[in-house]
């Protein structure tokens, strides 16, 4: 079967755009190595590839920049990796409409550079933007600090084109920011991790780049103090574009990356404000007035500001060796969740850096063993209790990245809730032969 499929796929994309030799190991998913990786050059080829794989019963995993491949369960099988990198064009951009259509394989930072010439941008700032593709960002529902202001992919995606498992091309939405014609198909695919279809095109609503953005950074001796200031800010008319809380370990790591000379003590709060300059100044003054308990603070602007946020966004201690957990909790439980994560780390002899989006209740925990061992058992042991905390706080916890040894010991997604039967129904409708990323989604979907 494999050889036959190989020939068919080679016929579709040409021998130059197919890997079946040793090089294919670069596309290993959680230790599962595909037989081949194929790189179609247009939507028709994507469609033909999927049709062929469908007929052959071959399991397909879509691949953008590989940045978010850590998300998801260990796949049941991977026969073909479908690389979207060659679909990398901006198809439509009308600055006056503040909308744009782009192919799924375009790299996010390249897209942003294209839009910035018109002083506009896509309001998504997930990690790894210089490698992550549009399609991968959508499939993983990846987000960053500015979701507080601009929302996530579900808020910004207004149209898309998808190829289903059988190769059928369908679209959803339109090139307008407001549209209720038919069901909202965009929502179905955002965060579905390539298990329902392969995203090939996306249309977004865009935003103007703010005239000015600055960040007020303040250190507090305890998370409790910082939490009080956060609550005041959230209950005020301030409109921060990002509001982040870094535990001491995360703050020190960011400091090192920025070449700071002194070590941070305590918890760091960063409040970004974007607007016209006079309004930025006024808001930062207001934030400062709310923070009587800060031990030290400063205002970042220009390059310093950009470098700080790049370090927060692309935070990656241990160069990919850490277990990264994303928790979503009630706003008033975020600081407590941070402290609980620190206690768990101490109990298990682990090191943890925590970055919390204090305005959305999203936290990212970066656990790692400091003693040179892989610590897989200990790392796996923190997942359940931390998830327990998140569930108590009406939230959830997902493993964003972990070594295979850890993944095999834990449930990477956690309970999908009472709606799971509907989710399974969707999977059966859209991928009846279970060839799209089998096993990578919730409960092994």
């Amino acid at each position: 079967m494999t050889l036959e499929l190989l020939k068919t796929l080679e016929g579709i994309v040409g021998p130059k755009h197919l890997l079946a030799d040793g090089e294919v190991h670069r596309y290993t998913v959680d230790g599962v190595r595909p037989s081949m990786a194929v790189f179609p050059g247009n939507v028709d080829e994507v469609s033909a590839v999927l049709e062929a794989c469908s007929k052959a019963g071959a399991a397909v995993v879509p691949w953008g920049g590989g940045v978010h491949m850590g998300l998801g369960g260990v796949p049941k099988k991977v026969d073909v990796v479908l690389g979207l990198g060659r679909l990398n064009q901006v198809l439509d951009y009308e600055p006056g409409d503040m909308t744009s259509t782009v192919q799924a394989g375009m790299v996010l930072s390249v897209y942003q550079a294209h839009l910035s010439r018109q002083r506009q941008f896509l309001g998504l700032d997930p990690p790894g933007a210089t490698r992550a593709t549009i399609g991968g960002t959508l499939a993983a529902n990846a987000s960053g600090p500015r979701r507080l202001r601009y929302g996530t992919a579900r808020d910004l995606l207004i149209g898309l084109r998808v190829v289903d498992a059988a190769g059928t091309v369908t679209k959803g939405g339109a090139k307008v920011v407001k549209n209720v014609t038919g069901y909202d198909m965009n929502k179905l695919y955002v965060g579905s991790l390539g298990t329902l279809g392969v995203i090939v095109e996306a249309t977004f609503r865009l935003y103007p780049i703010p005239a000015c953005e600055r960040t007020w950074v303040a250190a507090f001796s305890t998370a409790a103090k910082a939490r009080r200031v956060v609550a005041k800010i959230l209950d005020s008319p301030l409109v921060p574009s990002a509001l982040e809380l870094l535990n001491e370990a995360a703050a020190r790591e960011v400091g090192r990356k920025l070449g700071a000379t002194s070590e941070v003590h305590g918890v760091v709060l960063a409040v970004a404000v974007a607007s016209v300059p006079e309004a930025v100044e006024a808001q930062i003054r207001t934030a400062q007035a709310m923070a009587g308990e800060a031990d030290e603070h400063e205002v970042l602007e220009g390059q310093e500001h950009d470098a700080f946020w790049a370090a927060v966004r692309d935070f990656d201690p241990g160069n990919g060796s850490a277990v990264v957990l994303k928790a979503s909790v009630l706003l008033d439980k975020a600081a407590e969740a941070m402290e609980y994560g620190e206690r768990l780390a101490a109990q298990h002899g682990l090191h943890v850096a925590v970055i919390s989006e204090a305005g959305t209740g999203i936290l990212r925990f970066y656990f790692r063993a400091d003693d040179g061992t892989d610590g897989a058992t200990r790392l796996a042991e923190v997942v359940d209790p931390l998830r327990g905390f998140a569930l108590q706080a009406k939230g959830s916890l997902v493993v964003l990245h972990a070594p295979v040894a850890v993944k095999k010991r834990v449930d990477v997604w956690g309970p999908p809730g009472k709606g799971f039967a509907l989710m399974r129904g969707l999977k059966e409708q859209f991928d009846p032969y279970n060839i799209l990323s089998p096993g990578r989604f919730v409960q092994g979907l």
Binding site: E94, G96, D97, M98, G151, R154, D155, V162, D164, T168, V169, T170, K171, A174, K175, V176, V177, K178, N179, V180, T181, G182, Y183, D184, M185, K187, L188, V190, G191, S192, P208, L234, D235, P237, V239, S275, V276, A279, E281, Q283, K326, S328, L330, L331, D332, I362, K394, G395, W413, P415, P416, G417, K418, G419, L422, M423, L426, Q429, F430, F441
Partner: protein
């Protein structure tokens, strides 16, 4: 199960006081905000809680009786009509605010709650619920969830789907499930996102978790007055082009202004060609800094006058004119037919010109009042239902307006929904494969098709035929299949 036994069985669930079966009383439920279509349910039930809803649904599922959820009945696409008879489940009695949690910026409400009541309840504490359809003093949030309703302020703050985080739903089987919740990014497919805007075909919402927003520090509302629509349109583009996103930009043309002034005396200049209602909100310093630039864009485009509301009373009066626009049409026409097409903003002037030409072609006046900032048009086609053939002409013109919107890359509905009214126009926008993908979704949620049958999807290919060039032919008047079958009638 015959009708008498059905009524009896339902009365057994909710008590006879909450069952409507008298033909005269059922008339209330024959139509919604779009009065062109009528369809009478066999019975209407008004449950008080989720258990009663579930029991009624289980009964319908068991007996294979169609059932349709209904909120306040203000919808504008015939979505709440019981096209195949059966049971209408009215959610009006489930209208409580169950929980308000400011620290977590959430409220939990029941579906029958009137939209504005939520904001009324939380505004003394400085919070509000953002989606604000023009009918917000009457429409229910459950209905907003079904239609994914917008409103003037969705330009900056988004539509219903951007503010709903979780739902309790009675599925078509009668099973009760929670989807989403209080916190963002729950694992699994985005069932909440998929459900919002499903027009009552996926389930019956019995509880809604919404986001509450903090009231902006400052709000500034201004009316910019122009001689022509072209100047007003250029001003809209100019404002957005300068990177300013107002909370709302609403446009009204001369005929709308005339109607509104007759109806509300809000102080709109009746001799103007067009007015823009622009609202800025946010931190005070930002609103102050952006006011002059907005007015300057108007001046660059031959604006005649800018009136900035000096206080809340003036602001409310300006909005009163806009929000009463649909109702005010009664001042100048016996009837109107509202359209809801959306176009890319840059196509505004082109499409308004085309609507004007269609107005000439069909011999019907059109009042334009719409959300200019996001390109959501509401041409109000004025007609006289006593004049033979005018209803049909209005509908034909509506159809052609939708086609023009799609031709420039737009959509046939921005916030009112497809419902019954626009279902046969779906093929203009979506291919059979696109529609089949939507059908797959429907099969998961509503496998037996008992839940709100006859909505969204085209029922027959005869109503809209796509010609060789892919262009729909002029459809003129053609009765809907359900009319031919005697299941609905026009009046």
């Amino acid at each position: 199960m015959d009708r008498a036994r059905l009524i009896q069985a339902i009365a057994g669930v909710v008590g006879p006081a909450y069952v409507v079966s008298d033909p005269a009383e059922l008339k209330v439920y024959e139509t919604d905000g779009l009065t062109i279509f009528k369809a009478t349910p066999d019975v209407v039930v008004l449950p008080k809680n989720v258990a009663e809803v579930a029991e009624v649904v289980r009964l319908c599922a068991r007996e294979r009786i169609p059932f349709v959820p209904r909120g306040a009945g203000t919808g504008l696409s015939g979505g709440a009509l019981a096209l195949e008879g059966g049971v209408v489940i009215g959610l009006n009695r489930m209208n409580r605010v169950l929980e308000v949690d400011y620290a977590n910026q959430r409220a939990v409400i029941e579906p029958g709650l009137v939209n504005i009541w939520l904001t009324n309840q939380v505004s003394p504490d400085g919070y509000y619920y953002a989606p604000d359809p023009a009918s917000q003093t009457a429409c229910s949030v459950g209905g907003n969830v079904a239609e994914n309703s917008g409103g003037p302020h969705c330009l900056k703050y988004g539509v219903t789907t951007n503010h709903v985080l979780g739902l309790e739903i009675v599925l078509a089987s009668g099973e009760i499930v929670d989807v989403g919740g209080w916190t963002p990014d729950p694992p699994g497919y985005d069932l909440t996102g998929v459900f919002v805007g499903s027009e009552g075909t996926f389930g019956i919402v019995t509880k809604i978790v919404v986001r509450l927003l903090k009231r902006p520090e400052a709000v500034k509302t201004m009316m910019l007055v122009f001689e022509t629509i072209a100047d007003a349109s250029a001003t809209v583009s100019g404002i957005i082009g300068r990177g300013i996103i107002p909370a709302a930009i609403e446009m009204m043309d001369r005929l709308s202004i005339e109607a509104v002034e007759k109806g509300t005396h809000a102080g709109y200049p009746t001799d103007a060609g067009s007015v823009l209602l622009v609202e800025l909100d946010g931190p005070r310093a930002e609103v102050e800094a952006l006011t002059d630039p907005v007015i300057a864009v108007g001046r660059d485009n031959r604006m005649r006058e800018a009136r900035v509301a000096k206080d809340d009373a003036e602001r409310v009066l300006l909005w009163k004119g806009r929000k009463a626009a649909f109702a005010a049409m009664g001042q100048i026409s016996p009837a109107y037919y509202v359209q809801d097409g959306v176009i890319p903003r840059t196509q505004l002037l082109k499409i308004l010109g085309e609507i004007d030409a269609l107005s000439q072609k069909y011999g019907l006046r059109v009042a334009n009042v719409f959300h200019a900032g996001d390109g959501n048009l509401h041409p109000l086609i004025l007609y006289d239902d006593r004049v033979e053939g005018e209803v049909e002409r209005a509908e034909a013109m509506g159809a052609e307006t939708m086609e023009r919107c799609i031709a420039v890359g737009g959509s046939i509905t921005g916030e009112h929904g497809v419902g019954l009214e626009k279902r046969d126009f779906m093929p203009l926008m979506y291919t059979p494969a696109d529609l089949e993908a939507m059908m797959k979704l429907k099969r998961v949620w509503n496998p037996e098709g008992l839940l709100n049958p006859g909505k969204i999807f085209p029922t027959s290919k005869s109503c809209v035929e796509v010609g060789q060039a892919g262009k729909p032919r002029d459809i003129g008047y053609m009765p809907h299949r359900i009319e031919q079958e005697g299941k609905a009638q026009r009046f």
